[in-house]
């Protein structure tokens, strides 16, 4: 009987423990609504370095040059990517200049081509943000990379080829962010 009771107790303990584990992984409050996959897809405009979120579409530099004129990019950034009121989009420093020292120029300093795509898609054109089609964003990205000698004029950019573009800034030329831990100084060995 003692052994039986022990066995029962063990089973009880097991069930209890499982219950606790299950609790830890299931919602505590059950508040909030489950969004549809389509809802998520429609609002997810975060394009990460792997390009996994890139939508279907395609574009080349030649098409991009037309989009650049047609959608008014030239009005702020200049006809050739320089000389406008808005940030410069074409590097002018000699090619021997270190990438970082060529300045904060989106198609040059972005460590990933996905950053260029994400930026244009999210924030351009001024006051008409979010109105470009995926094809137009691919084409503009190709145009900006082409005028900065990052890709050839005839290269087609799409969800597969864009993340593979080799950008001028090497991975050791920009800082990856430090691990952050609660209640630790902002920089190890820095007293200030």
């Amino acid at each position: 009987m003692g052994a039986c009771a022990m066995g029962m107790l063990k089973v009880l303990l097991f069930v209890l423990l499982m219950g606790v584990c299950a609790l830890a992984q299931s919602p505590t409050y059950g508040v909030g609504r489950t969004p549809s996959a389509e809802e998520i897809r429609a609002s997810d405009i975060s394009i990460g370095p792997t390009g996994a979120e890139l939508p279907p579409g395609r574009g080349t530099a030649k098409e991009g040059a037309q989009v650049y004129r047609r959608t008014g990019c030239a009005g702020c950034h200049g006809a050739t990517g320089t000389g406008g009121r808005a940030p410069v989009l074409k590097g002018t420093a000699p090619s021997t200049t270190k990438t970082w020292d060529r300045g904060r120029i989106l198609p040059i300093r972005s460590p990933y081509a996905t950053t260029v795509w994400d930026y244009i898609n999210r924030a351009m054109p001024l006051n008409r943000e979010g109105t470009l089609t995926a094809d137009e964003v691919y084409a503009l990205t190709a145009f900006l990379l082409y005028i900065n000698d990052v890709i050839p004029e005839d290269q087609v950019l799409d969800a597969q080829s864009l993340p593979k573009v080799k950008m001028p800034l090497r991975s050791d030329e920009f800082a990856s962010l430090p691990d952050w831990k609660p209640r630790t100084p902002r920089l190890k060995g820095y007293p200030y």
Binding site: R33, P35, D44, I45, I47, P185, R186, L187, P191, Y192
Partner: protein, 417 residues
């Protein structure tokens, strides 16, 4: 100081006017027409608007100003950076109307109907969830005072006032739901190490942050200083990232995506750095303090007693100690911390000072709970092995000691000038 003691004649005159009015049978003293007299101030007639939502006195004229020489609003109505009038501040809380404003690119303010606003959490989670504003208000809340500071809050020789040198920091009491509560509701998947927060403004500003910060003390705030967030502060919902640079505190928060790497989206690109050390210093804010009274542009009426007053804060936690020097840094005195020093919040300090009428310099420095000490520009130049001249730019967010120079005429000027 010119005396403002009322003359007896004025008193008699106003009394006579009042008596005259009454004998003529008027229902009440003529409001707003009584002479300026301490015993008989002008009376403000109650009106519907003042009952509904009160204004400050018309004698209080402290206002925010455009920061960094860029007009706000500009000709198109875009708002850039706007600095808080710290020289007039008292206590530790910045009124919502005077809280500094920062925008990523010059921005219009989205007019968001909270009934239509929601927060989507998705990515590396077991259960993506959408929270309406009503959903969020059902969940357990936190209320915490936190400062927020813009990375551009940099003192310069050109700054004339503390508003120009330090006005891009403010502190409010924020109310909302811990992000850890929401993420547990969704269930984090193994390997989730970063999250991207995104706003609803025109550029859908997005920043990547470590998931460790999300689970420690981030919260989504719908309340500010006892009422709903202000539109300039992200109504109806903003992310609080206590102690991190202002730009991370995503306004008009609409989406959080849990990911496994640094995403290099919009704000991340602008935040990109070459040097890992400088990148680290542009994240969590260091210990910082500034004397707000007396500060640049104030005028001391004469020698004698003054309580020096200022603010101290740190992204590393609570302020443990504030020191004040009234002799240009030769001696340091422990300042009095007023009330509770909350973690990642402005902390008001004071120091009793008898001014002897001589030229001098006032300084303050603070130490936080991690033992981080606010540096002088000279200390930092030495640390980074750079010459100490006006061209020395402090790496990361500038948390150097601000000197205020007191002239023998009682004028107060920027000691960095």
């Amino acid at each position: 100081m010119g005396s403002k003691r009322p003359a007896r004649r004025d008193f008699l005159k106003s009394g006579a006017a009042l008596a005259g009015g009454l004998t003529l049978g008027a229902a009440a003293p003529a409001l707003g027409q009584t002479p300026d007299h301490p015993d008989h101030p002008e009376m403000i007639k109650g009106d519907k608007d003042q009952i509904a939502y009160g204004d400050r006195s018309r004698f209080v004229t402290s206002v925010r100003i455009a920061h960094g020489g860029r007009p706000s609003p500009d000709a198109f109505g875009l708002v850039f950076h706007v600095a808080s009038p710290l020289q007039d501040s008292v206590g530790m809380i910045t009124p919502s109307s005077l809280h500094f404003v920062g925008t990523t690119r010059g921005s219009y303010i989205p007019q968001i109907d909270p009934a239509k606003h929601s927060l989507l959490i998705h990515g590396m989670v077991d259960r993506p969830l959408t929270f309406s504003m009503d959903d969020l208000k059902r969940l357990p809340s936190v209320t915490r005072p936190h400062f927020m500071e813009c990375a551009g809050n940099r003192t310069s020789p050109r700054a004339k006032t503390v508003q120009e040198s330090h006005g891009m920091t403010s502190c409010a009491e924020w109310t909302g739901v811990l992000l850890s509560v929401l993420l547990k509701e969704c269930g984090l998947k193994p390997g989730a190490s970063w999250f991207v927060a995104e706003g609803s403004e025109e550029v859908k500003g997005a920043s990547s942050m470590p998931i460790a910060k999300a689970m420690d003390d981030c919260f989504v705030a719908y309340g500010m200083n006892g009422e709903a967030l202000r539109p300039q502060q992200g109504f109806p919902l903003r992310l609080m990232v206590p102690g991190f640079e202002g730009i991370f505190h995503t306004k008009y928060l609409r989406r959080i995506k849990v990911v496994d790497r640094y995403y290099l989206n919009y704000n991340d690109y602008g935040h990109l750095d070459q040097e890992p050390k400088i990148a680290a210093l542009e994240y969590q804010i260091g210990p910082k303090s500034v004397i707000t009274f007396p500060s640049g542009g104030h005028q001391l009426p004469g020698r004698g007693f003054y309580e020096i007053s200022g603010l101290a804060w740190s992204g590393g936690g609570a302020i443990r100690k504030v020191e004040v020097s009234t002799d240009g840094g030769r001696h340091w005195n422990i300042a009095e911390i007023k009330g509770t020093a909350y973690r990642m919040a402005h902390t008001r300090f004071g120091h009793k000072w008898n001014w002897d009428g001589q030229e001098t310099e006032l300084l303050s420095r603070c130490t936080d709970e991690l033992g981080q000490v606010q540096p002088s520009r000279a200390q930092l130049a030495k640390f980074w092995n750079k010459p100490l001249d006006p061209s020395f730019s402090v790496p990361g967010l500038d948390n150097t000691i601000q000197p205020w120079r007191i002239g023998s005429d009682g004028s107060v000027r920027n000691g960095n000038a």
